[in-house]
Symmetry: C2
């Protein structure tokens, strides 16, 4: 697993008290490793999707699935608007990508997401046989890639996912911080 630094943040709105706790949990962003132009462009698209989510009152997390040079799915968290507890950005992106290619196996696909996946989403990445995950900021409250669990790295499971953390972590964290800051006011 390639590992670089990322800015931790938490994400689960719910109550204002919860929102306050989220904001307190945000640590300053640290500089990330060098990424290719394409990697940065794909994460920028995920960040734009996250921003859209915020505009709809959803916790701003966005995701993109790529196959080679192509984007096959873009999504954002839609748990509130969809009344769907499974509608985190990653799950929505995986479903759309699989529908687009007509196969649940996404062996050669990569997923970009603006915050570290939770156990549900990390498990889904393994189930979908995703090749590589790029994520932005860490999630100290539910991160299942390197914070609370290391599900993508578990040799007991039937697939491992390569991981590139910290891609545009500061940008991902800023979106979340200002969303929870607004909730708090």
């Amino acid at each position: 697993m390639r590992m670089t630094s990322a800015a931790p943040i938490a994400a689960d709105a719910g109550t204002e008290a919860e929102a306050e706790a989220e904001v307190e949990a945000v640590a300053p962003a640290e500089p990330a490793r060098r990424h290719s132009e394409a990697e940065v462009a794909f994460m920028r698209r995920a960040l734009a999707a996250a921003e859209e989510a915020a505009g709809r009152g959803e916790v701003p997390v966005g995701a993109v699935v790529t196959l080679g040079d192509e984007i096959v799915a873009v999504s954002h968290n839609e748990r509130e608007t969809g009344s769907d507890p499974t509608a985190h950005a990653e799950i929505v992106a995986l479903r759309r990508a699989a529908a687009a290619v007509g196969n649940w196996r996404l062996n050669n696909a990569d997923l970009y997401v603006t915050m570290e996946p939770c156990p549900m989403c990390a498990g889904a990445l393994v189930n979908a046989r995703i090749r590589r995950l790029y994520f932005g900021c860490d999630d100290p409250k539910a991160g299942a890639v390197r914070t609370l669990y290391r599900i993508l790295d578990d040799r007991r499971l039937n697939h491992r996912v390569e991981v590139v953390p910290g891609l545009m972590a500061a940008e991902g964290a800023t979106l979340l911080r200002s969303f929870f800051g607004r909730l708090r006011r």
Copy 2:
């Protein structure tokens, strides 16, 4: 967490070699604890859904979501027919239940599933705030309730799910065993 014995089984079809490994992994069922009539009836409905899945060439796992005395969702694994890597029985059931009640929070709901949930599904149960999980046989290859992980019991996450394992474990295991047995031939 209430704990009783359950029959382990594995589930992820894919290749015939994999299917062979699955069948070898099946251990004999052990006697389960006493359950109420309603609990048994709900699990029987989940088993019927699992059987339907097998008829469609899907790994036979079925699930039911209940609210009080009422079933609000029934589902089975539809990963192949839906070309959806996230379409395990539990995920489909949670989405249907949330759509039925119009809220992603399923605080007072229970979920019945014929086999121990994987990390994706265990994480989804936490995200949906499910009150109690009843499951049948253990999953030695991906079980995330008590086999490989204990995600429903993790005080670092923002919700805990009560667990009743081993409910009609032998029946759940038999469905899987004969499905993988047929693949093997």
